[in-house]
């Protein structure tokens, strides 16, 4: 932990700290593997559909085109409608990543906001907010997400909102405990005695110290959000227009691809999910070891 110094010094040190964190991450075998996996998936998601665009309407002409094994014209075979699985997988990457990232943004913003308020204002506000947090922490996530998605519809926007608005309690808890310990520090007390406003103290002095922890947590939440989306979509609650990896697996399952041994249909989207989630998990796990003060003191 940086010595309790002045804000100016801390900010000029932020760049150096970020650099140090990156070096630690890249120096760790697991962290480096995670970064490489993520760069790979990111490139596939961005470039893949440009080079191999997927046309959901390009269905097969006859029954012969359905669930065909890989061939020269269809590198990963065809699905139950005779569409190209390789191209579908590439375009699914975008949807899965998009949902994961946007849902996480909502979770983190909500969690950080609630955590900072609860940690900074002890008393009824804190205990009230924490009661709500604990309530959502004990409610089993998947049944809740299923109920919400089933009730409010199957569009990408709804799915992002539902996953985002159920994923914040963990972040809120972590941020609160960190803010709670920061606000008792000497340097915060000194700054307050200068007459700094609450907004200034939180914005300039508390947040910069909580950010590293939020960052590590964010990376792990992304992994969870992508898994949530995949599960929801697999259960038939995905957006039928924007086909994600989970939606592909739903149709693979419903059309009986597993029983018919059409491995080329259900392997690629699943491998995609595992690679992305593993990438974020490895990076998040390593960042947590580097940035979490509780783990670092060991």
């Amino acid at each position: 932990m940086a010595s309790p110094s002045m804000a100016l010094e801390e900010r000029s040190g932020a760049l150096a700290a970020a650099r140090r964190t990156w070096n630690d991450l890249w120096g760790d075998a697991l962290g480096r593997t995670g970064v490489i996996l993520l760069v790979f998936v990111g490139m596939v998601a961005v470039l893949g559909p440009m080079v191999f665009p997927f046309d959901p309407k390009a269905v097969g002409r006859s029954a012969v085109d359905i669930l065909r094994p890989p061939s020269a014209s269809h590198w990963l075979g065809t699905d139950e409608l005779g569409r190209d699985v390789f191209r579908a997988t590439l375009s699914g990457a975008r949807i899965s990543l998009l949902v994961g990232l946007l849902a996480t943004a909502i979770s983190i913003l909500a969690g950080a906001l609630i955590g900072v308020i609860a940690g900074y204002y002890p008393g009824w506000l804190d205990s009230g907010l924490m009661r709500i947090t604990d309530f959502f922490l004990v409610i089993p996530t998947l049944p809740l997400v299923i109920a919400l998605a089933a009730l409010f519809g199957q569009s990408l926007g709804i799915i992002i909102l539902v996953i985002g608005l159920t994923g914040w309690p963990g972040t809120a808890r972590i941020v609160r405990s960190q803010v709670l310990s920061l606000r008792e520090r000497q340097f915060i007390a000194r700054i307050r005695s200068f007459g700094a406003s609450d907004a200034r103290i939180v914005g300039l002095h508390i947040l910069p110290n909580v950010l590293p922890l939020i960052f590590a947590n964010t990376v792990l939440v992304i992994a969870g959000s992508i898994l949530s989306e995949a599960t929801l979509a697999f259960l038939g609650l995905g957006d039928p227009v924007h086909v994600s990896w989970g939606t592909m697996l739903h149709f693979a399952f419903v059309s009986g691809a597993t029983g018919r041994g059409a491995w080329w249909y259900f392997l690629p989207p699943g491998v995609g999910i595992v690679v992305v989630v593993l990438g974020f998990t490895l990076v998040g796990h390593t960042l947590d070891q580097i940035l979490n003060p509780r783990l670092r003191t060991r």
Partner: protein, 324 residues
């Protein structure tokens, strides 16, 4: 063992949380867009008189607060409403389904706790070795697997390819058993794949938590003392180390319940296991809200009770918290 004041506080907390969950559940399923009458009738073309009659029958002509009163009264009587698709009381449908889910989760939990604690202790006691890093990496990889996809892979490899195990249902359809044992062994063969799927994915958390808790404890002075006394490695690890590493593991088991409930929904869907998870999947596809509502409530209450149990267990095991 417990102070009365602590128990009273916990009891009040439990009552408040349960009340909140019930209310949340009620409101969640009342804000849904669309007319419930249409969902019950499964058709938009009803004579106006019939609509009014149904509305009255289900109490939907009453203000929300009165409906809430009915809802609480019905819950207290074990009445979970009437399924749109099965045309049966939800409570009747749930009874058998719940048993099947409990059997599946019981089997999986035994496997997960045993395997998770065993591997976690193994990794921690060989800290820094290949065994340790191998265990951690495998745990992270398995943690990243979607449960439903792992199930699909196992169906393909062990069910379709090798034909080693049945891939669907709880018993062989149409089977006639000559004895109870034959029936049990049939169920055991059917439960194998769903249980293995759940264990593969959900064991990771237990491994990582057990490992890190034990790694922490093993740096303590009393471990050094135990070693200096000349105790065997096994005794130091289990009797001195693991006993003290139990607390974080207990805390994690409350989270585990929430996790495994989600896992059950996925695994039961893939393997057509006739439990609550499969029921939820079917209810989602057919928009059978009363069933969804009841299942959500039951899962939520289960997780809340599991949290309470882990809190109480924590108190029993850690004398330091008991006084607080």
């Amino acid at each position: 063992m417990f102070r009365p004041r602590y128990l009273v506080r916990k009891g009040v907390q439990l009552a408040v949380t349960l009340f909140a969950v019930v209310t949340f559940n009620f409101l969640l399923f009342r804000v849904l867009p669309g007319d419930p009458i249409r969902l019950i009738a499964r058709s938009g073309h009803l004579p106006p008189g019939a609509v009014e009659q149904l509305r009255k029958l289900f109490g939907l002509d009453q203000p929300l607060i009165v409906q809430y009163g009915y809802y609480l009264r019905n819950l207290a009587r074990g009445n979970f409403g009437f399924s749109y698709t099965y045309r049966e009381p939800v409570a009747d449908i749930l009874a058998q389904r719940m048993t099947n889910t409990i059997v599946l989760l019981g089997a999986a939990t035994v496997l997960i706790v045993g395997l998770g604690v065993g591997l976690g202790v193994l990794a921690a006691s060989r800290r820094g070795t290949r065994i340790d890093s191998g265990t951690v990496v495998s745990a992270l990889v398995f943690w990243s697997l979607p449960t439903f996809w792992t199930g699909m892979i196992l169906v393909f490899v062990l069910g379709v390819w090798v034909h080693a195990l049945p891939i669907s249902g709880i018993t062989t359809p149409g089977a006639i058993y000559s004895s109870v044992w034959q029936r049990i062994s049939d169920v055991a063969r059917h439960i194998a794949l769903p249980t293995i799927t759940l264990a593969l994915v959900d064991v990771a958390q237990f491994v990582l938590i057990t490992r890190s808790a034990l790694v922490d404890v093993l740096t303590e002075d009393f471990i050094l003392t135990a070693k200096a006394k000349g105790l065997s490695h096994r005794r130091v690890i289990w009797a001195h180390g693991f006993r003290n590493a139990l607390l974080p593991v207990i805390t994690a088991s409350a989270l585990y319940i929430s996790l495994v409930v989600g896992g059950a929904i996925q695994v039961e869907t893939v393997f057509s296991w006739p439990g609550m998870g499969r029921l939820i999947y079917d209810a989602v596809l057919r928009r059978d809200y009363p069933i969804l509502e009841a299942c959500f409530l039951i899962f939520a209450v289960t997780v809340i009770l599991a949290n309470l149990a882990s809190d109480l267990l924590y108190q029993v095991l850690d004398p330091r918290v008991r006084e607080a």
